[in-house]
């Protein structure tokens, strides 16, 4: 099945307009009183989520399925408890701690999503033959699917199904807060295919100046795909993509690679000027963390143990 990212960003502006007036500390959840039930068998994990996500970032990490909170047109199943614990620990390590270290401790508290909602199964779109990897609703809630088949030390897999999506969705939140340059939309104008992007093979999309097939959907998806790919991909993967792009002639003077590099420069400058974020520094931090985790079960066990979940049932699931 081809994979798609379905991003529901249109509601975001409405949702955020009220948040913007709340100065710099929007709070959706009460962080004064513990919001977990200590009588439940899941209390240790619920406390971890409360301490790590609610108290520190005012984010609710929802691992218990509530179908009302899901897209009812999908056939879904809940996330497995042990997998939920793994993803919560890895999300802190590969996402929240990155921004905390590189940007500012309260950056994600101010601008991050308020709800992370995880689902065990894929979200199939049988009629389109696609599979939704993640959704962002109103910049408030990010939903991630396929948690039950997560491979915790397989970085390519983690990026494909989870962290690429998280960085992608977060980049949306950032540009919806402070617009990216209008000129970006003009770079590939006329080459976007909102309904046919999934039929473009990757090499063809690269040759047209898109980092992924999905980036060819529309300009704002293109913009966040550039950021997300650059942050999560290894240099070798990024270079390989540029090489494929270089084979495509977009105009008399530019190849796909030239187009992608123009887009990248624009995104890089925008992050620096609008957000004071150095994308190189951000990337280095992400890559260092990914390199530590890649294929290293012992390191994964160490991360889980530090979080309080070193038992076999959590690390060997």
């Amino acid at each position: 099945m081809k994979k798609s990212l379905i991003l529901l960003g249109s509601l975001f502006v409405l949702a955020l307009s009220s948040c913007q007036e709340e100065a710099l500390e929007p709070k959706l959840f009460d962080t004064k009183a513990p919001s977990y039930d200590s009588t439940l068998a899941t209390a240790p994990f619920d406390k971890y989520l409360y301490d790590t996500y609610v108290k520190e970032y005012n984010v609710s990490f929802l691992y218990r399925m509530n179908d009302v909170g899901s897209n009812l047109s999908y056939n879904l199943v809940p996330a497995k408890y042990e997998k939920s614990v793994q993803l919560a620990v890895l999300t802190k390590y590969l996402w929240f701690d990155v921004y905390k270290t590189v940007v500012a401790p309260d950056f994600l508290k101010k601008y991050g999503p308020r709800i992370l909602y995880i689902v065990g199964s894929p979200a199939y779109n049988p009629e389109q033959g696609t599979e939704t990897l993640g959704t962002a609703e109103g910049g408030i809630k990010v939903t991630l699917y396929k948690v039950n088949s997560m491979q915790p030390t397989n970085i390519a897999h983690l990026n494909e199904f989870f962290f690429h999506t998280m960085h992608h969705e977060f980049a949306h939140i950032l540009h919806q807060t402070k617009s990216y340059p209008k000129e970006y939309d003009a770079i590939s104008a006329g080459k976007y295919s909102p309904t046919g992007w999934q039929n473009r093979p990757l090499a063809e999309a690269n040759g047209l100046g898109f980092v992924t097939s999905y980036a060819g959907m529309e300009a704002r998806e293109d913009f966040v795909e550039v950021i997300s790919c650059y942050i999560t991909e290894t240099q070798a993967d990024w270079d390989a993509m540029l090489k494929r792009a270089d084979a495509g002639k977009v105009s008399d003077t530019e190849t796909g690679k030239d187009i992608i590099l123009r887009k990248f420069d624009m995104a890089k400058n925008w992050l620096a000027t609008a957000w004071n974020i150095d994308i190189e520094e951000l990337r280095t931090e992400v890559q260092n963390r990914q390199n530590q985790l890649r294929g290293d079960k012992d390191f994964f066990i160490q991360l889980m143990t530090e979080a309080g979940f070193g038992d076999d049932r959590f690390v060997n699931e």
């Binding site: 099945m1 919001s35 977990y36 039930d37 009588t39 439940l40 068998a41 899941t42 691992y63 218990r64 399925m65 509530n66 179908d67 009302v68 009812l72 999908y74 056939n75 879904l76 199943v77 809940p78 996330a79 497995k80 408890y81 997998k83 939920s84 065990g120 199964s121 894929p122 199939y124 779109n125 049988p126 039950n148």
Partner: protein, 438 residues
């Protein structure tokens, strides 16, 4: 029960409903919030009130195949679910996950973290995109609570299938015993009988239905059902003469011939449409079945004849793999097919038989006689006869060329997928054949 979310909602409700309080309240003066809380507490305490757990009669969708599950709820939100079905590869399996009772359009039971046993009916991955579309969120049916408190009827939130929960008795405190009993009932009745026809009768008449994994199919009607330790329950029942038959038990728990309805004032049965040997009779004239001879389950006289063949094969550097009774379409004849191995290679031999059934309709006995042999069969007969085809043939005739009574080998007459042939001349000359999937 997690209370955090709905307590916030409940706290706001009195503000909105204060105006309503002065009107006459058909609910005994209770606020909607109070009624909801009472409903949540009632469902939660009912679920927790089964010391040995619950038998859940699970249907992914209404009137489809039913699958028994056993569940035990704990007040720390843990639920253990056990099953033995095709999703668990027909072995007993338990899985632990977490549940909640929460507010929806009424009190709702939700299995909110993944349970390998329970959610296998909802997982969209098999087949991709849909799965079996079973529910894992349930409301209590309008008539859901029984007076005794031993039964609870739920309704799936999305697919609306009725799911009955019955409190397990002490007899089933070992859950594996429960599933072993279900397997025993299945082996006595439907195991191996896909495509077999049964007569569903109420007041002496009714449709002939074809069995396929816990569903009876008539031309235009489907009757989904679920096995129970004593019999079965039809999801929608069968209605005739303004009476409906739902619940059936085996007429004899060890050697059943039919299912008998136990609903009050309903005279209904489900029984095989044919005598056991009638099912085998098809083999004589069509490729519908292959019957494997159970070489470890024979009478002593048959075993002596069989061992002579085995020993002769070993003496010639070969070994016997299997023997089947089947119909060979190329020659339009029923045959004994022997598979044997020589130096790691497998060979096949076909020796054709003639069957004479007595009486011709609804037979009870059969005479087997040698008819002819294929080229590969000649090689086999020479091999076991030490070069002498007739000597080899005599060994095969000693095994099969007899007059037999035929009956179901498992229990009563219900399950014709396993038959025992017993020689009329020598009760120890008997062998069992089992229907093979192909």
């Amino acid at each position: 029960m997690k209370k955090g979310l709905y307590v916030i909602a409940l706290a706001l409700i009195p503000v909105f409903f204060s105006a309503c309080q002065e009107e006459k309240d058909p609910f005994g003066g209770k606020l909607p919030s109070e009624r909801m809380e009472a409903a949540l507490n009632k469902l939660d305490s009912t679920l927790l009130s089964a010391p040995y757990g619950w038998e859940m009669q699970y249907f992914a969708k209404a009137n489809t195949a039913g699958y028994p599950l056993l569940l035990k709820f704990s007040d720390n939100s843990q639920v253990v679910v056990a099953a033995k079905n095709r999703n668990t590869y027909r072995t007993y399996k338990e899985a632990t996950s977490y549940y909640d009772v929460r507010e929806g359009n009424g009190a709702m039971l939700t299995f909110e973290t993944y349970n390998e046993v329970f959610h296998s009916f909802a997982n969209p991955e098999n087949p991709a995109g849909k799965g079996q579309e079973g529910d894992y969120e349930f409301y209590v049916d309008a008539q859901g609570y029984s007076q005794s408190g031993d039964t609870l009827i739920l309704k799936g939130k999305k697919r609306s299938a009725s799911i009955i929960l019955v409190k397990l008795s002490e007899e089933w405190q070992n859950w594996e015993d429960y599933f072993n009993e279900l397997t025993r009932v299945d082996n006595l009745t439907f195991a191996g009988n896909t495509g077999t026809t049964y007569a569903l009768k109420l007041d002496g008449a009714g449709p002939n239905v074809t069995y396929n994994e816990f569903v009876f199919q008539e031309e235009d009607n489907t009757y989904g059902f679920i096995l129970t330790p004593k019999g079965l329950r039809l999801y929608n029942g069968y209605t005739r003469n303004e009476k409906t038959a739902y619940n059936f038990v085996l007429d004899n728990p060890k050697a059943p011939n039919k299912f008998v309805c136990i609903d009050p004032d309903v005279d209904a049965t489900i029984e095989p449409r044919y005598s056991p040997i009638k099912v085998f009779q098809n083999t004589v004239s069509s490729v519908r079945e292959i019957w494997g001879i159970d070489m470890n389950n024979t009478g002593t006289s048959f075993a002596t004849a069989l061992n002579a063949v085995k020993d002769a094969l070993v003496a010639s550097g070969a070994s016997l793999a299997e023997m089947d009774l089947l119909y060979v379409s190329e020659t339009s004849k029923p045959a004994l097919r022997v598979r044997y191995r020589v130096a790691g290679r497998e060979y096949e031999a076909r020796i054709f038989f003639e069957y004479t059934f007595t009486p011709r309709t609804n037979p009870t006995s059969v005479e087997i006689a040698y008819s002819s042999v294929s080229e590969d069969g000649i090689a086999f007969l020479k091999r076991i006869g030490n070069g002498d085809q007739q000597a080899g043939l005599a060994m095969i005739k000693a095994m099969f060329e007899h007059r037999y009574d035929v009956a179901c080998s498992v229990g009563g007459a219900f399950n014709p997928s396993s038959l025992i042939f017993t020689s009329k001349e020598d009760a120890n000359l008997n062998f069992v054949i089992k229907k093979k999937a192909f």
